[in-house]
């Protein structure tokens, strides 16, 4: 089963956990991304995420389908948030269940790494004295 969500509302770890729970699972790996309080020593006030929603959902689905074929997994859940997030809030959760833990770890790692490279979501870091689009410049 694949579960994809892109939401303006706070994400729930429990929802992803429940989406991948399965009696035939030997384990699940849940990655929870959080908003860090600083970048290179500068205090981060908040992050603002925006997305090209239909394509972002499509790319998230592609990742989930790929990992489902590539590893022996049972279920994959990818939830991402958009809008304004404070320090400590959760922009992304990825949960993967599998009969054996190795596949779940590897699939989850691949999913978050690929999400950061392909899914059309952009975040802007808001500092006390300015703002910057993350990763825009070399």
């Amino acid at each position: 089963m694949i579960d994809i969500q892109l939401s303006e509302h706070p994400l729930a770890e429990k929802a992803c956990y429940d989406a991948v729970s399965d009696p035939s699972a030997g384990g699940m790996v849940v990655f929870v991304g959080t908003v860090r309080n600083q970048t290179k020593g500068k205090k981060v006030v908040r992050l603002e995420f925006e997305s090209f929603v239909p394509m972002a959902k499509k790319e998230m689905l592609k990742i989930a389908e790929y990992v489902s074929h590539q590893w022996d997994t049972l279920h994959v859940s990818i939830h991402h948030r958009v809008g304004s997030l404070e320090v400590g809030e959760v922009p992304v959760i990825i949960a993967v269940s599998a009969p054996h833990r190795k596949a779940a770890f590897e699939a989850c790692q691949y999913a978050i790494d690929t999400l950061k490279e392909t899914v059309p979501i952009w975040k802007k870091e808001i500092f006390e004295d300015g703002e910057v689009w993350v990763a825009a410049h070399p």
């Binding site: 991304g33 995420f49 925006e50 997305s51 090209f52 239909p54 394509m55 972002a56 499509k58 991402h80 922009p91 992304v92 978050i112 999400l115 950061k116 490279e117 392909t118 899914v119 059309p120 979501i121 952009w122 975040k123 802007k124 689009w133 993350v134 990763a135 825009a136 410049h137 070399p138």
Partner: protein
């Protein structure tokens, strides 16, 4: 011909708007559009990468544009 450009993230700041009509000589590929765009907005040259999507899919440099295409400009993504 004219295509419709839709910008997100830093591309929106560079072009000072979310959507804009853009005229380009026919035939034109994505690569031609990229060159025309960076010519008009040199700030695009400074980005880590610059990709384009049509019909919600990334398109290669050699994709040929059609009149009225909606082209989404994808500056470096930073989700997660």
């Amino acid at each position: 011909m004219e295509v419709k450009l839709i910008a997100f993230g830093i591309a929106k700041d560079i072009m000072k708007g979310t959507t804009t009509g853009f005229f380009i000589d026919t035939p034109a590929s994505i690569l031609d559009l990229k060159n025309a765009l960076t010519n008009k907005y040199p700030e695009f040259n400074k980005l880590q990468s610059l990709k384009f999507a049509i019909n919600e899919d990334y398109q290669n440099d050699d994709y040929l544009l059609h009149e009225g295409d909606e082209v989404v400009i994808i500056p470096p993504v930073s989700g997660g």
